[in-house]
């Protein structure tokens, strides 16, 4: 199994999720994160003082799938999340040694 971690622009979450559901991904977990990268944050000015917001709000999506699905998932995420503009984000893939569904105790791809 693979854990695919995608860092996305927040407003892409819904469309990525819909696309993944369409190819049969059953679940995923999302987290609000702060991204530091080439794309820089806004400057806010309060009463003349500048505050540099160093990060960009991003959303991190973690998707665990069987090895066979992994490439497909990466492609779908890439296609739906890309805008061509800086800050579109990254996809990271990790190997997973085990998955368990808490409710039933099923393991492996059955747990997903």
């Amino acid at each position: 199994m693979k854990m695919i971690i995608a860092i996305l622009k927040p407003y892409k979450l819904d469309v990525v999720r819909d696309a993944l559901t369409a190819i049969g991904v059953q679940g995923m977990t999302a987290t609000e994160v702060k991204g530091f990268g080439r794309q820089k944050g806004q400057t806010e000015i309060y009463r003349g003082a500048e505050y540099q917001v160093s990060f960009m709000p991003k959303v991190k999506v973690e998707i665990v799938v069987g090895d066979d699905m992994a490439e497909r998932v990466v492609d779908v995420v890439r296609e739906t999340a890309a805008t061509g503009q800086i800050g579109d984000g990254k996809i990271f893939v990790l190997d997973l040694s085990q998955a368990v569904r808490i409710r039933t105790g099923e393991t492996g791809v059955d747990a997903l």
Binding site: E44, I45, Y46, R47, G48, A49, Y51, V53
Partner: protein
């Protein structure tokens, strides 16, 4: 706008034909005892509530929204605790020092004859209202003034220092200046005009704020590594409450429900609105975006600036004052922190101090009937009138600075002024008060 002005204004009323409709003159002649007006009393009861509302929650929220989330409760608590302390001290003696007759020292300070409201009962009268009501109305001014200074020292001061400083400041700075200006002291004698507290409230607080900053030091990380306001919406709520409450502050200072009060309310509104728009416009031009925090800061600048003038100028004067307030206070904000490197954190001097100074000055000039004002003080030219105001400002500022310095030395030597670096980093909410602002 106190008791002296009130007596004058009341005696004018008593001799004016229109007002006599309500007061058959022969009846008046027969009765020596002063009497109260239920209408004036109703308005002053309301005004007192409005001015208390300015500090808690108004000012507390205005300030609380501007600090970082880890300090929000400490700011709310400072405002609230200072309010409680001021109320008790006002009763204990500060009212008396401000407004009681000072005998031989009358030019400089009042007496202690009315400490604990000694001799003042439910039927004591001051002008056309109960004296306890005058006491209460003035108390709310004594509450908000040290409250304003809080903006200078947030996020790094020790809480005992807040209490000790505020208490001593009320006795040693607020009481004398109030007596000078409103209690029959030397500035009143000179003819200094301060309708609702440009000197008494804003100049004292603004100038003392700078001294506090100089002695307490800047926040860690100032100026490059400090946090933006954690909740500007809270600041807007506070600013709105200050705006509404200021009607009690200024129009209440007429000490009556009459045309003077209505005009004071009018000019207050005009100045607030035009200062807001002025500030917004400058920001828009200068930074490309008009901000909400800027807009409401302009409001407070306009309100502070009209305060001394509010019983003397007309609508046209108020427009002028408002625009000047927006421009000058905006400018002052760009100077104190960035250039002087003085971390007057929430811009107490730039907004209140400068507002009070500019407003007090303009009161000297803009009261001219040509602009709808009530006229200059009798027998004064514009130059003399402005000069009188300059003396008032200089004396008030000098006293506030000097005495604040002494008080702060004493506070530092006893309870200590500043929290440790760790406490400052962790935030005063947890480190000083053991609470957290948001558990959402």
């Amino acid at each position: 706008m106190p008791i002296f002005w009130s007596f004058i204004c009341r005696s004018m009323v008593a001799t004016s034909t229109a007002a006599c409709l309500f007061v058959p003159v022969d009846a008046l002649a027969q009765v020596a005892a002063p009497t109260i007006s239920d209408g004036d009393t109703a308005w002053l009861l309301t005004s007192t509530a409005l001015v208390l509302f300015m500090t808690v929650p108004g000012l507390a929220l205005f300030y609380g929204g501007l600090v970082r989330a880890q300090n929000v409760l400490s700011v709310l608590m400072q405002c609230f605790a200072v309010s409680c302390l001021a109320a008790v001290l006002w009763l204990a003696g500060v009212y008396s020092l401000s407004f009681d007759n000072g005998g031989g020292a009358e030019r400089w300070i009042g007496g202690m004859g009315k400490a604990l409201l000694n001799g003042v009962g439910a039927d004591s009268v001051s002008g056309s209202i109960p004296e306890t009501l005058f006491f209460m109305f003035q108390m709310t001014f004594a509450i908000i003034t040290p409250g304003l200074i809080i903006g200078a020292y947030v996020e790094r001061i020790r809480f005992p220092a807040v209490l000790m400083f505020s208490g001593l400041w009320l006795i040693l700075v607020y009481a004398p200046v109030t007596h000078w200006v409103w209690g029959g002291g030397w500035l009143a004698d000179m003819g200094v005009r301060d309708f609702a507290g440009g000197l008494v409230v804003h100049v004292t607080a603004g100038c003392s704020a700078l001294v506090v900053v100089a002695m307490l030091g800047n926040r860690r990380g100032f100026p490059n590594d400090v946090k933006p306001p954690h909740n500007p919406g809270m600041t807007m709520i506070g600013a709105s409450m200050l705006w509404v409450g200021w009607f009690g502050f200024n129009a209440g200072s007429a000490l009556a429900a009459n045309g003077s009060a209505a005009m004071a309310m009018t000019v207050t509104q005009i100045s607030a609105a035009s200062a807001s728009l002025a500030w917004m416009t400058i920001e828009w031009i200068r930074f490309g975006k008009p901000s909400m925090v800027g807009l409401v800061t302009g409001t407070i600048a306009g309100l502070a600036t009209i305060t001394p003038a509010s019983g003397f100028v007309g609508p046209a004067g108020a427009l002028i004052i408002g625009v000047i307030a927006g421009v000058v206070c905006f400018g002052a904000v760009q100077v104190v922190k960035p250039i002087f490197k003085l971390d007057d954190t929430l811009d107490v001097f730039a907004v209140h101090g400068m507002g009070g100074i500019v407003g007090t000055l303009l009161t000297g000039a803009l009261a001219v009937p040509f602009l709808g004002g009530v006229g200059l003080p009798e027998g004064m030219t514009v130059g003399q009138s402005v000069w009188t105001q300059v003396v008032g400002i200089a004396a008030t500022a000098a006293w506030a600075v000097a005495v604040s310095f002494v008080i702060l030395k004493a506070v530092d030597a006893t309870v200590g002024l500043r929290v440790s670096d760790e406490e400052e980093f962790e935030g005063l909410d947890i480190s000083t008060h053991g609470e957290r602002g948001y558990e959402i």
